[in-house]
Symmetry: C2
Subunit: 511 residues, 2 copies
């Protein structure tokens, strides 16, 4: 069978060149670039990477905030045939080091704002790759802009279809984060699906507030690119700056997590600006409180809200709750329907499909699903058993195909759009000498969705503040407990397992 060239992530770039080379592509602060300029930079970026030894299939690690340099590296890596490893900028040095040791990139591009982390990273990574600094020169390091200026425009290494495009590290259910392998086809199939959901429109202006190292923001960028959007970047979410950027650039599309929605509505400048340009707000990554949703709809009546439910392993949202669904009494309380590229069903513990209304695990399949976890064949096979991605989420589907996510993998905590796995926090806590036993659960919170709550049995004296400080030395700040409760014993099952469901209920009641 003759094989043509399958979906490839540079396709939207080629399209942008053919359909409007001189249209605005990116706006990053005062810096505005057209597609023609962007592609020229991408080609130079590919030349720089190749000069650093990046061959097809090699990994390129990136530690940078949102911005046009992220676009250089995303597409420059693809152009060079490489595999992007966009590192979570909120991670500790130890967590970053884990991703580098696991993925063995050929080069690390780091924004100069993260240079203070570098010594600790270098100590923890035996085979440290060469480092390039972006966002400003730093003595002793190659400077990204200087390298680009000296580069030539490389020819494309056309990787496509099942070829690996990105490794996105996600908190594993059993502790250390795992690299989710997403192919060119997976990411672009999903982007097509989102771009064609009927909830996006050609000529949009997308403001990127959520971090691009997360799959939701990354796939949102690819989808809006397919719809010929221009892209406005802010380095981080700050409500006042977001509101000002919306008004200045006439932003039509936003991707937010629920905590961001609340911050925008609460901000004193919200009412003072003309935000009538906003047409669509995508939100997700955490459940949104009904009261907050109602408030958001009332404050922005013209806006179409689109909720996404998905995960890194599926390249983005596998289900969307569309604007019309938000005006429907019962559907608004669901998590929407499967996107076109995804088949979704609910199964019991034996992987048998359950009828409408019955709770079970949500499983999905289709081209947007990951190829597996990097270097973890057993965990990959388990997650993808029978050809279905097992989400670890519990839910049910109504007779119209709307999925209701009722519980997550029971140990996972969703706080401010981030997944926190309790076992990882418990690991950090339990290495404190005063801690005899501990359990970490999510506690419902109007602002964050959930906060991290620790229940601890002490063997020696310690304060909550001491334990939280101990954790901050070991794991990212957002993973650290926000509240600590001391007990003389943890509730145990007959088999000796800690009864986390009971602790969760007690934490909820104890608000």
């Amino acid at each position: 069978m003759t094989r043509g060239v399958g979906l490839h992530l540079t396709q939207p770039l080629h399209r942008a060149l053919r359909e409007g080379a001189d249209a605005v592509a990116t706006i990053d602060g005062a810096r505005v670039r057209t597609w023609r300029e962007t592609v020229a930079r991408v080609r130079r970026a590919a030349d720089v990477l190749a000069g650093h030894g990046v061959a097809p299939g090699d990994r390129v690690a990136l530690l940078a905030p949102n911005g046009d340099v992220f676009v250089d590296l995303l597409f420059g890596t693809m152009w060079a045939g490489g595999v992007l490893v966009p590192v979570n900028t909120r991670w500790s040095a130890a967590e970053i080091a884990h991703a580098l040791v696991d993925s063995r990139p050929r080069v690390l591009v780091i924004d100069h704002g993260f240079l203070p982390l570098l010594p600790a990273i270098q100590v923890a990574v035996p085979q440290m790759p060469p480092v390039i600094v972006s966002g400003g020169a730093a003595s002793g390091f190659d400077d990204w802009e200087a390298l680009l200026a000296a580069a030539t425009e490389a020819e494309e290494h056309l990787r496509h279809g099942d070829d690996l495009a990105a490794l996105l590290y996600t908190g594993g259910t059993t502790g250390a984060s795992k690299g989710v392998m997403l192919s060119h086809r997976a990411l672009l199939t999903y982007a097509m699906c989102l771009a064609g959901s009927g909830e996006s429109a050609p000529g949009a202006c997308m403001l990127h507030t959520a971090p691009l190292f997360h799959v939701g923001a990354l796939s949102g960028l690819l989808a809006s690119l397919l719809n010929r959007a221009r892209h406005v970047f802010l380095p981080a979410f700050e409500a006042g700056a977001v509101i000002a950027a919306i008004a200045e650039h006439r932003v039509s599309d936003l991707f937010l997590v629920p905590t961001m929605v609340q911050s925008l509505l609460d901000h004193p400048s919200f009412a003072a600006h003309d935000l009538s340009c906003v047409e669509r707000v995508y939100y997700g990554a955490a459940p949104i409180a009904p009261a907050l949703m109602d408030r958001a709809i009332a404050a922005m009546p013209r806006v179409g809200f689109v909720q996404g439910y998905g995960m890194t392993e599926t390249s983005g949202s596998v289900a969307l709750l569309k604007p019309a669904d938000h005006r429907h009494d019962t559907r608004v309380r669901s998590n929407g329907r499967a996107v076109m590229a995804i088949e979704m069903k609910i199964v019991d513990a034996g992987d048998r499909e359950l009828p409408a209304g019955e709770r079970g695990e949500i499983v999905v399949r289709g081209d947007a699903v990951m190829a597996g976890y990097w270097n973890r064949p057993e965990e990959s096979a388990a997650a993808l058993r029978g050809g279905w991605m097992h989400t670890g989420d519990v839910g049910w589907m109504d007779a119209d195909g709307y999925v209701h996510v009722v519980d997550r993998l029971k140990d996972m905590i969703l706080t401010g759009g981030e997944n926190v796995f309790s076992i990882e926090v418990e690991g950090a806590l339990s290495c404190h000498p005063a801690v005899a036993q501990c359990a970490v659960v999510g506690r419902p919170d109007d602002h964050w969705g959930e906060t991290v709550h620790a229940v601890v049995v002490l063997r020696d004296a310690a304060t909550a503040d001491e334990l939280i400080a101990h954790c901050r030395d070991r794991i990212a700040r957002y993973k650290c407990p926000r509240s600590v409760e001391f007990r003389s014993a943890l509730p145990l099952s007959a088999a000796g397992k800690i009864l986390k469901a009971q602790l969760r209920d007690e934490a909820k009641d104890g608000r």
Copy 2:
């Protein structure tokens, strides 16, 4: 790398079951079936096919008009893991026999209306497969309905991704028709793309008038199925019946070829029915004359017209001209922009990309492109050289990415050293009020190489000299017809395309 399950053509069926099992699926005359009933039939169809020896990868040939039995066989073949070979119902016994000899199906399902062709087919096919008759019992043959009634509901053989789903025979430019190999991924990627083009809507009602053995109608069915449409079938195109069916079933979506558009507008009952339910008319498969387009827009001002440009080898239209484009002065004269799943460019004879505005061959790539021609490795490699499908069409692209198809490479007329594009001459001729239909071909000439020859169907009286004079007011003298032939009708293919090859042959023979 772990491989999940890629896109599969039964996915929309599974989705229909989960999102509305008791909704109407098909309306075929007085027969109405829900999705639950349809899937039960599909599962029984798979059992029947397996009982006839169809194993995964085996071909199933179908010779039937549009109707719900076509749906049984399309999805039943997929369910059984087979490859559908939908045979052109307008072919002669010899042409049908060629497809059967070439594809070697395990079974042939034939509508009883085509039984008169069977003896001649059997003579021409040495290894004739078993025959099942649908649409009514026939003595001496297995009856499809009786077999279905006796069958059990089979488990699915899940073929997907690059697995072959269909062989669509297309008239080769050099004689015998070739089997275009379309995978599950190609057909479903294209269907997603069309369903997500923004020009279709959930809950639509699609009337299938164009024959489903053609890729345009087949992909339209898959796309509208993804959008949860219900499907109305008519066995063949007859303008009065189409108008009645639109009004009766409140049809929202139609797929037409230009000759059908004209027949509808000309029909006496057009004005007498309430056709305000029609929201979208897809048209394509042949160039439409500007005068006809203007007339159609004037007659149906609420309708969104969507023009598709594509071919069997690309699973459907690679470019769409959307409703808004029809209201744009220059874009309305183009053939639209590439759909999301397709990358398109214009190349010279050496396959080098040409800049905007320059004429060359249109080439495309992406997951929707065929895997090749069945059993024709050389022709496959030639058509797909460099990873791009070479369409054989001449065109140019403007700076906004709109493609203008100038002509088929083979329809181009070479006269006195000049290239004349037949479509341009046809455009000039067809705006003469007396001209109902026309086709322009090259006629061999010792002096000029070829001369421009017009074949015209008149609606009012006109002479050849009048028509030639009319053209001279509009296009260059060398492009004007040198000879005009009047006929009562033009020869049409099953898809309603004017058979230019036949007209060329007849012009050559001096008719």
